[in-house]
Amino acid sequence: MNGMLDWASLFSLLCIAIAMLLATLRLLKGPAAQDRVLALDTMYICAMLMLLVLGIRTGSTEYFEAAVTIALLGFVSSVALAKFLLRGEVIE
């Protein structure tokens, strides 16, 4: 299909890819540790959105499960990193 939805999903994928690039730049630049954690948090949300758009593009529902997994694990890792910044250790 070379219709409107194809172009729209391609545009959306490009936007999210540029967004991930900007988050990567922030991850590399810092300047503080919390900036890097925030950039990682943003990157997992962007990756999840990208998987959803890819699911629409290919018309298969397998991408949805990967998106749910990324959302779950990203939340856990972000909380662990924030807790580490706050306390200096993850499990007290």
Binding site: M1, M4, L5, F11, R26, P31, L52, I56, G59
Partner: protein, 144 residues
């Protein structure tokens, strides 16, 4: 792309608009993450993508799979509910961690009254100054 199942025109237009809006909002949020000047401003950027961008793309996905598969496809609501519950929690924890770290480093956060409205809200000096050599050459930001 599965070309055999064509969507009705209204659904295709609606899904395309939702996809474009979601992508643009996510890009705008990450632009804010890159361009803002202090961590407390930067935190506000990605929430665009985490709230409305996510909702738009999830709605587009629900619309597409409800139209192509038989019956309504509601499993995408799972992602929306989950992110709506978890993103504020991580943001709050990160903000508290940043406040704690800044205070322990002897910085005055949140900024005193007037600092945010005077001149331009530059708080690069709140963070590690040596990462901003251009700002050091320019001198410290104007005192409020």
């Amino acid at each position: 792309m599965s070309g055999d199942m064509l969507l009705p025109l209204w659904a295709e237009i609606l899904a395309s608009l939702l996809l474009v809006a979601g992508g643009l909002l996510t890009l705008l949020g990450c632009l804010g993450l890159w361009r803002f000047h202090s961590f407390y401003q930067r935190m506000h950027g990605p929430t665009l993508g985490a709230t409305m961008g996510m909702v738009f793309i999830v709605l587009a996905s629900m619309l597409y799979f409800s139209m192509t598969d038989e019956g309504p496809a509601l499993h995408e609501v799972l992602i929306a509910v989950f992110l709506t519950l978890t993103v504020p929690a991580t943001t709050l924890m990160l903000a508290r961690a940043a406040l704690y770290r800044h205070r322990r480093a002897g910085k005055d956060v949140p900024l005193p009254d007037g600092a945010a409205t005077s001149a331009r809200f530059r708080t690069d000096t709140l963070d590690d100054e040596h990462y901003y050599p251009a700002d050091e050459k320019r001198g410290p930001p104007p005192a409020s």
